[in-house]
Amino acid sequence: MSMEASPASGATKQHAVTLPWSLLVAGSIVGIWIVLALFAPLVAPFDPTAVDIANALKGPSAAHWFGTDQVGRDVLSRVIHGARIDLLMCLAGVLPPLLIGTTVGLLSGYYGGTVDTLLMRLYDLTAAFPFFVLVLAIVGVLGPGLINFFIALAVVGWVTYARLVRAEVMAIRDSEYVQAAQCLGYSDRVVLLRHVLPNAFGPVVAYAVSDAVLVMLAGASFGFLGMGAQPPLAEWGVMISDGSRYIRQAWWICTFPGLAAISLGLGLAFLGDGLGQLRRGQVSA
């Protein structure tokens, strides 16, 4: 018994996993945006939709840090309120494809067979088209608007999640702990939800975060093109689109929402990257 060198230090070492720096930085950026979005009415100095023509197109000043737009709305307040819409957009754009894709990937990876083959051909078909082109086409058919934009995202996005989960599940399906679970007579539902899914979910979370970047940028782009969020909603893409006509006189109208989109995008991207690193680190530890 004494010969079984027990990695006693293992228990304590596990807690001392050093967080990648990117994870810390990214976590705080995304965290700040979430706090700002949650408390937007308290934080924002002005009503984001309050029109004040007399103060239109004023540059950054002590009263209006980010200046005012063409109808005198405070850009800072609009950027803060925009965070609500853009973050919600991330959530609404990521969750439905994640849920659909995970379910499909889990079932098709575990059971395999003809259904699996058909689903994977569907994936190939979807992956053959550029993401934006396909989303644009679907929104074009359904008509502009946020809801249709999310529907298009779900239709296009689920396949990536399905593919990701399927690959993980196929490896886990043959592992001995899944065989043991089957041998112990657990139902398929228990084996799938308790033994397969928790171990297949790591990469999905990491991908979902980077997917949120894509969704956010897509949302802003579609807002800019007038196919996503509709004015006067304070959405960063819509704001940039509105402000672009005045870029020569008032650079601040589109610059600040642009910077906001970049910072949130970078934050999410690094967060996804860091989560991935953390997961790999844990696996090799």
């Binding site: 010969m3 702990y177 043991a180 679970a181 041998c183 530890a285």
Partner: protein, 556 residues
């Protein structure tokens, strides 16, 4: 087989002189003041379990440690100091004067280049031979390492060769420049036993004919006792004992060496106290079982409408296991023994034949009958780390079957699980740990406890000790022997190791290519094998001297 060989030349100066070497990675000291010497033409064995530092010391001697390693002490090769050599000087030495072969030949051969070229490469580099000259010599070397049709084989890619042939190719490449020292790091661990014996024979011959000094690293004392003249035993980065092979095996001085010798597979006999009861329907009966795996049908096959022949993993296997009996299944990898285990637990569908429990075909079980079957037949798996869900603690994993089968509530199940933990001799505190915080042997104990949670009648053990160190292996076997006695288990014990099986089981079935080639009482099969294949298996066992006598005196 010939006994250990005396050194060919007895020079005064050691070929490799390792003096007081310590290696530190960050804050962890993996080697502590290691000193030993290898004389020209000598075969020295380095024994120890995983993590004992036996590979580290050899990598240090070859200058193959990562730059993060902090090495102190002195290493001299033929009088030349090695520590602190530049990369350019190392490349002149490595491959030319000292060479190394590794455990897994597949990962050390370039899959995209023909093996002849790979053997020729070091000769072109070190001996400045022309390409064609080097290739010619490579073919000769392949001959020397016992590869038939060497000229044709030289044009093969690594994937066209078997594991044993790949290891031969590695050896050919290593000796191509006539080095004086060969470091062999577990060269036969990944190979089947019969192939292992041939590779060791080859190493001995190279030593005899070329005076090649060999440092042979292995966890298997039996192998070392057979091949080496001296043995160094390492543990926790220190040398605990070194000396003549005979002395180490027969009169070990250090308690750890004694433990290692005692833990050798087949060294111990497990008393079973089982008697054959006549005229009894066997508990588990397998009749004419045939399991096939369909060959993959690719697009061209579909277009041409042809069906590739399926692969039969099991082909007409019949065997019977009586209540309370322990039956061993032996065979090399690919012989179908794991497929048999999977068939018994209904993990694959037989193409023909049946598996019967108590006379009832198991494929007919459904619903409640199936659950009852699951409770009666359980399995312990091969890979201790892979057989536990990484997200569940040991206690949760053991308790889960109890409450899922409705034997007890969740809280009561956890209480029973901690009793089971105690039964497999694990401290209660370990129950809170996840698999990655446990050692291989501890994980395997958890796996056994989980399988026993449903109080099964039949336990299938599929290579449950093959991933473990020998001392741990012996402990797990002892545990299993105790549980078998206490719980009156019927055991199907699957292993590639004939010596373990014959010491642990009453009856043995020898498998080869999906068929049973020999069956009989464990002692009979080991001492008096009938089939050529079994004889080969028995001959390839590396028994420690004196072991055979011991066995006979027990059984006689």
């Amino acid at each position: 087989m010939n006994g250990p060989l005396a050194p060919l030349t007895t020079a005064d100066r050691p070929l490799l002189d390792i003096a007081d070497v310590s290696v530190t990675f960050g804050n962890t000291r993996v080697l502590k003041h290691v000193s030993f010497q290898i004389m020209p033409g000598e075969i020295v064995g380095i024994a120890g379990e995983s993590g004992s530092g036996k590979s580290t010391i050899c990598r240090a001697a070859m200058g193959l440690l990562p730059s993060t390693a902090d090495v102190t002490g002195d290493v001299h090769f033929d009088g030349q100091g090695l520590l602190g050599l530049g990369e350019a000087e190392w490349t002149k030495l490595r491959g030319r004067h000292m060479a190394m072969i590794f455990q897994n030949p597949a990962s050390h051969l370039d899959p995209l280049r023909k093996v002849g070229r790979q053997i020729a490469q070091p000769m072109i580099r070190h001996l400045a031979l022309s390409r064609s000259e080097a290739l010619g010599r490579a073919v000769k070397l392949l001959d020397d390492v016992g590869i038939r049709e060497s000229a044709m084989r030289a044009k093969s890619y690594p994937h066209e060769l078997s594991g044993g042939m790949k290891q031969r190719v590695m050896i050919a490449a290593a000796i191509s420049c006539a080095p004086r020292l060969l470091i062999a790091d577990e060269p036969t661990t990944a190979l089947d036993v019969t192939v292992q014996a041939k590779i060791l024979e080859l190493l001995k011959e190279l030593n005899r004919q070329r005076g090649l000094a060999i440092a042979l690293i292995s966890h298997d004392l039996g192998v070392l006792a057979d091949v080496c003249s001296r043995i160094i035993v390492m543990r926790h980065g220190e040398i605990v004992e070194q000396g003549e092979a005979g002395q180490i095996i027969e009169a070990p001085r250090h308690p750890y060496t004694r433990l290692l010798v005692d833990s050798q597979p087949g060294k111990r006999q497990f008393k079973t106290g089982w008697k054959q009861v006549e005229d009894q329907t066997p508990l588990l009966q397998i009749e004419d079982l045939r399991v096939v795996f369909p060959a993959k049908r690719d697009l061209i096959d579909i277009v041409r409408n042809r069906k590739p022949a399926p692969f039969a993993a099991l082909d007409g296997v019949s065997l019977a296991v009586a209540t309370g009996e322990t039956v061993g299944i032996v065979g090399e990898s690919g012989s179908g023994k794991s497929t048999l285990a999977r068939s018994i637990i209904r993990q694959n569908r037989p193409a023909a034949g049946t598996v019967k429990l108590d006379g009832r075909p198991i494929e007919q079980f459904a619903g409640g009958d199936l659950l009852a079957f699951r409770r009666r037949v359980q399995m312990v798996f091969q890979n201790p780390y892979d057989s536990l869900n990484p997200r569940m603690t040991a206690l949760e994993a053991i308790a889960e079957p109890i409450w899922r089968h409705g034997i007890a509530g969740r809280r009561e199940a956890l209480r029973q699980a901690s009793k089971l933990l105690d039964m497999v001799e694990l401290p209660t505190a370990l129950g809170e740990r996840k698999p990655r915080q446990l050692s291989g042997g501890q994980c395997q104990r958890v796996g056994i406890a989980r399988a026993l949670a449903l109080q099964p009648q039949v336990l299938i053990a599929d290579e449950i000790t093959s991933a473990l160190d020998v001392t741990t292996q012996a402990q797990i076997l002892e545990l299993l022997a105790r549980l078998r006695r206490e719980r009156a288990l019927t055991l199907v014990y699957i292993s590639h190791d004939l010596s373990v099986v014959s010491s642990f089981c009453q009856r043995v079935y020898v498998f080869r290519s999906g068929r049973i080639v020999e069956q009989g009482g464990a002692a009979d099969v080991l001492t008096n094998p009938q089939e050529t294949y079994t004889r080969e298996l028995v001959a390839s066992l590396h028994r420690l001297p004196g072991q055979m006598v011991e066995r006979e005196s027990i059984e006689g």
